[in-house]
C-alpha cells in the first residue's frame, strides 16, 4: 500500500496530537480538577516510556512494560507527593519539578535504564504487530484515538457521575471546608494524583509503541510547560477543552515544523522558525488568558438537571449507561 504523502503527514501530526491529548487529560485531572500543580508531568510520561522501551529491547512483552511503568509512576508519584501534599501549592509545584529532573538525569546516565548509550536514548523499537511502516502509522493513529476516547470517557464519568469527582473539585476550592465535612483531602489527592500518573505513564508507553524511540531530551521540563499551555488554553477543568488545547498547540508546532522545509533558509533559518513557534504560542496564551481567563471552554457547571439525569439513567439498563458515559 502507498499512502498519499499528505495523508501520511496528517497521520503523523495526528499521533502527536493524541499523545499530547492524553497528557493534557492527565494534567487536567491533577491541576484542573484537584488543584495539584504537577510541574513534573513529563517525568511520569518518561517513566512509562522508558519502562516500556527497556522491556521491549530485552524481548519482554510490552504489556509488562506498560504495567511496570504504571506501577513505578504510581509509587514514585506517591513518594514525592506524600510529603508535599499538605504544603502550599507553590511548594508542591517546585518539588514536582525537582523530582522529575532527578529522573531525567538518572535516565541520561544510567545504562541499565537509558539503554546502551543513555545520552542518545532508546531507539529501534520494532513496528507494531510486525506491520509494515505505513500500516504501523495507520494502526498507531487508530489505537491512540481509541485510547484517548477511553480515557476521556473514564474521566468524564469520574467528574459527572461519581461523588468522588465532586470532592476533587471541592478540594481545589477549599480544603478546610472539605475537612470540616469529614473527608480526608490527602486520601483524595493521592488517588487523583495516582490516576493522573498512571495516565501520563500510559502516554509514555503509547509514545514508545507508536513513535518507537525516546531520548532523555524528550522528558525536558519544557514539555511539561507545553502541556500546561494546552490545559490553560483549552480550559482548566474541561476535558473537551484541554483536548482542543492539545490540537491547537501541537498543530501549530507540527505545521511550523513542516513549513520549515518550504521556507528558504535565507529568509528564516531553522532556529528562527522554532523561536517563531514559541513566540506565537506565547502570544496566543497571553491573549487567551487576558480575554478568556478560564480558557476557551469553561469548566462545566453541574446543575440539578445533570444530577437528575444520573439518577434516572442508572436504572435504564444499557441505554441509560451509554447516556451516562457519553454526556458532558
Amino acid at each position: 500500500m502507498v499512502l498519499h504523502p499528505l495523508v501520511f503527514l496528517l497521520l503523523g501530526i495526528g499521533t502527536f496530537i493524541l499523545i499530547y491529548a492524553i497528557l493534557a487529560l492527565s494534567l487536567n485531572l491533577q491541576q484542573g480538577y484537584t488543584g495539584l500543580p504537577n510541574f513534573g508531568l513529563i517525568g511520569f510520561y518518561g517513566i512509562g516510556a522508558y519502562a516500556t522501551a527497556s522491556m521491549i529491547v530485552q524481548g519482554i512483552n510490552p504489556i509488562i512494560g506498560i504495567i511496570l511503568g504504571m506501577i513505578i509512576a504510581t509509587v514514585f508519584g506517591i513518594a514525592i507527593t506524600l510529603p508535599a501534599i499538605r504544603i502550599r501549592e507553590i511548594y508542591f509545584a517546585i518539588i514536582t519539578i525537582a523530582a522529575v529532573e532527578i529522573i531525567r538525569i538518572i535516565i541520561r546516565n544510567e545504562k541499565a535504564i537509558g539503554g546502551e548509550y543513555p545520552q542518545l536514548g532508546i531507539f529501534n523499537i520494532p513496528l507494531l504487530f510486525g506491520l509494515d511502516y505505513e500500516m504501523h502509522k495507520i494502526v498507531s493513529f487508530l489505537l491512540l484515538m481509541l485510547v484517548v476516547i477511553c480515557i476521556y470517557l473514564i474521566l468524564q464519568f469520574i467528574i459527572y457521575s461519581m461523588p468522588f469527582g465532586r470532592v476533587l473539585k471541592a478540594i481545589r476550592e477549599d480544603e478546610d471546608a472539605v475537612k470540616a465535612l469529614g473527608k480526608d483531602p490527602v486520601r483524595y489527592k493521592l488517588i487523583a494524583f495516582s490516576i493522573g500518573a498512571i495516565i501520563a505513564s500510559f502516554a509514555g508507553s503509547m509514545w514508545i509503541l507508536t513513535q518507537r524511540a525516546i531520548t532523555p531530551d524528550g522528558i525536558m521540563p519544557l514539555w511539561t510547560f507545553m502541556i500546561w499551555i494546552m490545559v490553560l488554553l483549552g480550559g482548566m477543568g474541561n476535558n473537551k477543552g484541554v483536548i482542543m488545547g492539545a490540537i491547537v498547540i501541537t498543530g501549530i508546532q507540527q505545521i511550523v515544523h513542516e513549513l520549515k522545509f518550504y521556507i528558504p533558509t535565507e529568509l528564516l533559518d531553522n532556529n528562527q522558525i522554532i523561536s517563531l513557534t514559541w513566540t506565537s504560542i506565547g502570544i496566543l496564551i497571553v491573549v487567551v488568558l487576558i480575554f478568556l481567563p478560564q480558557g476557551v471552554i469553561k469548566e462545566p457547571k453541574i446543575c440539578g438537571n445533570d444530577v437528575e439525569k444520573t439518577i434516572k439513567n442508572v436504572n435504564r439498563g444499557i441505554k441509560g449507561w451509554i447516556r451516562l458515559l457519553l454526556r458532558g
Partner: protein, 253 residues
C-alpha cells in the same frame, strides 16, 4: 448527658494566650451560646475543638470519647461538625454541588466502592439530592440551586454553609456567627429550625453569636469569654445582669 466537654484547653500564639484553660460543658439537646468581645478567643476555641488547631494543653471529650488528638476530618466523621466565621464553601461549584459534597456516604466516599457498587452509590446520591432540595427550601435558597456559590450574597453564603453542615446530620453543630449578615426575619426562622432540630431530633448546638437579641431569645445556656478565659456561665437572664460581663463588653478591666 454531656455531649461536649473541654478540660483546661489552652492555646498560645506567640505571647498571646488566645485560649486560656477553658473548661466548658455542652449538654445534649441544648443550644449553648458562646459570646465575648472581638478577639476574646471564641473562634480559636472552635478551632481547637474541631481539630483545626492542636491545643497546647488540655482535652476535648465528645460523647465521652477523647478526640483531642484526632484530625479534623475524623472529628467531623464522629458527628461533630463546625462552620466557619469567614465562610468556606466551594465558589466555582453550583449551590447544588456544594450541598452534595457534604453528606457522609457509605459507597460514594470511596473510589473503589463507588465503582463496584455503582447503583448503590447512585441510590445514595438520590437520597442526598432529595435531602438537598428539602434543606434548600428550608433555607430559602431553592431558587439559587443552579447558581455558582461564589455569586451568593454574604448572608446567603452563611445560609449555604449552614446547609452544608446540616447535610451531615451531625450530633453536635458548632456554628461560628451563623446569622451574621442574614436578615432578621430569616435569622429568627433559622433559629426556629435549630430549636426544631434540638427538640425533635435531639440535636445539640454550640453557637458563637454577637447578636444579643438572638442569644437572649434562643439559647439555653451562655458562656462568656474574655481574653481567652471563660468569665461567666449561666442562663441568658442571669448573664445579662452580670457585672463582669458588662464590664468585659465595655472594655473595663
Amino acid at each position: 448527658m454531656d455531649t461536649l466537654i473541654t478540660k483546661r484547653l489552652s492555646k498560645n500564639f506567640g505571647g498571646i494566650k488566645a485560649v486560656d484553660e477553658v473548661s466548658i460543658t455542652v449538654k445534649k439537646k441544648t443550644i449553648t451560646a458562646l459570646i465575648g468581645p472581638n478577639g476574646s478567643g471564641k473562634t480559636t476555641l472552635f478551632n481547637l475543638i474541631s481539630g483545626f488547631y492542636e491545643p497546647d494543653n488540655g482535652k476535648v471529650l465528645f460523647l465521652n470519647k477523647d478526640i483531642t488528638n484526632l484530625n479534623s476530618h475524623q472529628i467531623a466523621n464522629q458527628g461533630l461538625v463546625r462552620t466557619f466565621q469567614i465562610v468556606k464553601i466551594f465558589r466555582n461549584l453550583s449551590v447544588l454541588e456544594n450541598m452534595l459534597v457534604a453528606p457522609k456516604r457509605d459507597y460514594g466516599d470511596s473510589f473503589i466502592k463507588t465503582i463496584t457498587n455503582f447503583k448503590k452509590s447512585i441510590k445514595e446520591e438520590k437520597e442526598a439530592y432529595d435531602y438537598t432540595n428539602d434543606l434548600l427550601n428550608l433555607l430559602e435558597l431553592s431558587h439559587l440551586k443552579d447558581e455558582y456559590a461564589g455569586n451568593l450574597s454574604g448572608g446567603q453564603l452563611k445560609l449555604l454553609s449552614l446547609g452544608l453542615a446540616l447535610m451531615r446530620d451531625p450530633e453536635i453543630l458548632l456554628l461560628d456567627e451563623p446569622v451574621a449578615g442574614v436578615n432578621p426575619t430569616l435569622a429568627n426562622k433559622i433559629f426556629d429550625i435549630l430549636i426544631n432540630c434540638r427538640d425533635n431530633f435531639n440535636k445539640t448546638f454550640f453557637i458563637i453569636e454577637h447578636n444579643m437579641d438572638v442569644v437572649l431569645d434562643f439559647s439555653d445556656l451562655i458562656y462568656v469569654m474574655n481574653r481567652g478565659k471563660i468569665i461567666a456561665e449561666g442562663p441568658p437572664k442571669e448573664i445579662f445582669s452580670n457585672r463582669g460581663v458588662i464590664d468585659a463588653y465595655l472594655g473595663v478591666d
